[in-house]
Symmetry: C2
Subunit: 228 residues, 2 copies
C-alpha cells in the first residue's frame, strides 16, 4: 500500500468525478483531505463489518463490491469504474467488501471530513447525488442482465455491459477490451458456475459473436448476436 497527497491537476477523472463540481478553491480544500493510493489486484480497500470511516473516488482501474456468502463463495454485487465513488456515507458499519480487480488508483478520504465537506459545499452534495443516481441506474441495468433465465443471455449481456463500460463513447461498446474479472468472479456476479461461464464463452466464440485474445481479452465481432 502506497499513500500520498493528491495531485488533482493531472487527475484523469478530474472533470467526471464528484469533485469536478467544485471550483478551484473548494477542490483545493478537498484535495488536502484526501490521500492518493495505489491498490494491487486483489487488494482490499474496505472490508464488510469493519468500521465504516472512509470513502474514496476511483481514479483508474476497477473495483468490485461484494460479499462472501455463508458457504464461503463470493458474490459480486457491483463493479466500480473510474470516477466512481465508494463508501457508505450513511451506514455505521460497511455492508460489503470493496476490492481492487486490477491495479487501481483511488483518492481516499476520511468519511467524517468528507461528510463535513458535503455539508459545506452544496455543489459537492449535488454532484454526489448525480453519481449515486448513475450508480443506481447501473445497478438496475445489471440486475436486468443477472435476472435473465438462460446462461447464454447472462454472459452475452455481461460482455456487452463490460464493452460499454470500457468504451469512451457513451452509446457504443468498445470493440475490444480486457475483462477485469476472473472466471470465478464472472460466475459469482451472474449467478452461474465457472464451468458454465467458460462453456458459454467458447460457444459465443464458435458462433462468431466474439473472439478471445488470451484469457481475458474480448473482441466483440457481432454485437447484434449478443442481444440488445
Amino acid at each position: 500500500m502506497t499513500s500520498s497527497p493528491l495531485a488533482c491537476a493531472a487527475c484523469p477523472v478530474r472533470d467526471r468525478a464528484a469533485c469536478s463540481a467544485l471550483d478551484e478553491g473548494e477542490r483545493g480544500d478537498l484535495a488536502r483531505l484526501g490521500r492518493h493510493r495505489v491498490l494491487s489486484p486483489g487488494e482490499v480497500l474496505f472490508a464488510a463489518d469493519e468500521a465504516n470511516d472512509r470513502c474514496a473516488t476511483l481514479v483508474s482501474g476497477a473495483l468490485k463490491i461484494g460479499t462472501v456468502e455463508s458457504d464461503g463463495s463470493e458474490r459480486i454485487l457491483s463493479l466500480i469504474h473510474p470516477a466512481g465513488f465508494v463508501g457508505e456515507l450513511f451506514a455505521p458499519v460497511a455492508h460489503f467488501d470493496v476490492t481492487a480487480l486490477t491495479r487501481s488508483e483511488v483518492c481516499v478520504f476520511s468519511r467524517r471530513e468528507y461528510e463535513a465537506a458535503v455539508e459545506r459545499y452544496p455543489a459537492l452534495a449535488r454532484a454526489l447525488l448525480r453519481r449515486s443516481s448513475e450508480d443506481l441506474l447501473g445497478a438496475r441495468s445489471l440486475m436486468g442482465i443477472v435476472a435473465r433465465t438462460s446462461a447464454r443471455d447472462k454472459v452475452a449481456g455481461f460482455l456487452l455491459a463490460m464493452g460499454e463500460a470500457a468504451s469512451d463513447s457513451p452509446c457504443h461498446p468498445a470493440a475490444t477490451f480486457e475483462l477485469p474479472l476472473s472466471r470465478s468472479e464472472v460466475a459469482g456476479l451472474l449467478g452461474l458456475t465457472i464451468e458454465t461461464v467458460s462453456r458459454q464463452l467458447t460457444a459465443l466464440e464458435r458462433s462468431g459473436a466474439i473472439r478471445r485474445n488470451g484469457l481475458r481479452g474480448i473482441e466483440l465481432v457481432d454485437a447484434a448476436q449478443l442481444g440488445n
Copy 2:
C-alpha cells in the same frame, strides 16, 4: 387518476422521505410544487422512453421499476417502498417503467421545479443523496438474492427481503405480510418461471418455513430455514 395539492401535515412518511430534511418554510415551498395522486394497481406512473419531466415520492403502497424485454416479457429491476423516491433527475429520457403494484399514494413534482429546489435547498440535496444511497444499498442486496444459483435460495431470500420491507423495525422481518407482487412479477424479478416460483413456495410451506394465507399472504414461521 386523481390529483390534488399536498397535505404534508398528515403525511405518513413525513419524517422519512427526502422532504423531511426541510424546515417548515422550505417544506411549504416544496409542497406548493407537488401534487398528491392516487394510483390504482397496475397504473403506470412513468413510462420508459417518454420525456422524463417528473419525479415523485411514494407515500403509501408499492411501486415497481421495470422494463419489458424485446420478447415481451417483463423484468422487474427494483421495488419502491413508502418514502422512496422515483424519477431520473439526470437523464433526458426515462430508462424504465414505474408502475403501481398496489393502490399507492404519491407526491408528484415537475422535475424542473424539483431540481431547482435541490439547487436552492442544500438540505434537500443531502437528503436525496441519503435516499439514493439507501436505494443503492437495497439494489445491491437484491442483486445478492437474484444472483443465487438455486431457485429455492432465490425465493427464500426474496421472502425474507419482503418481510423486512414490510416491517416497521429495521432489523427483524414482519412475521406476516402480503406480497405486493403476482407470481408472474416475482418470477420476472428473480429470473425464474411462474411455475418454479409456485413450486418453491409450496415446497417452503411443506417444509414448515412459511405458511400461506390466500394467494399473497405470507407468514414467516421459521425464518432461519429461509437462510440469512
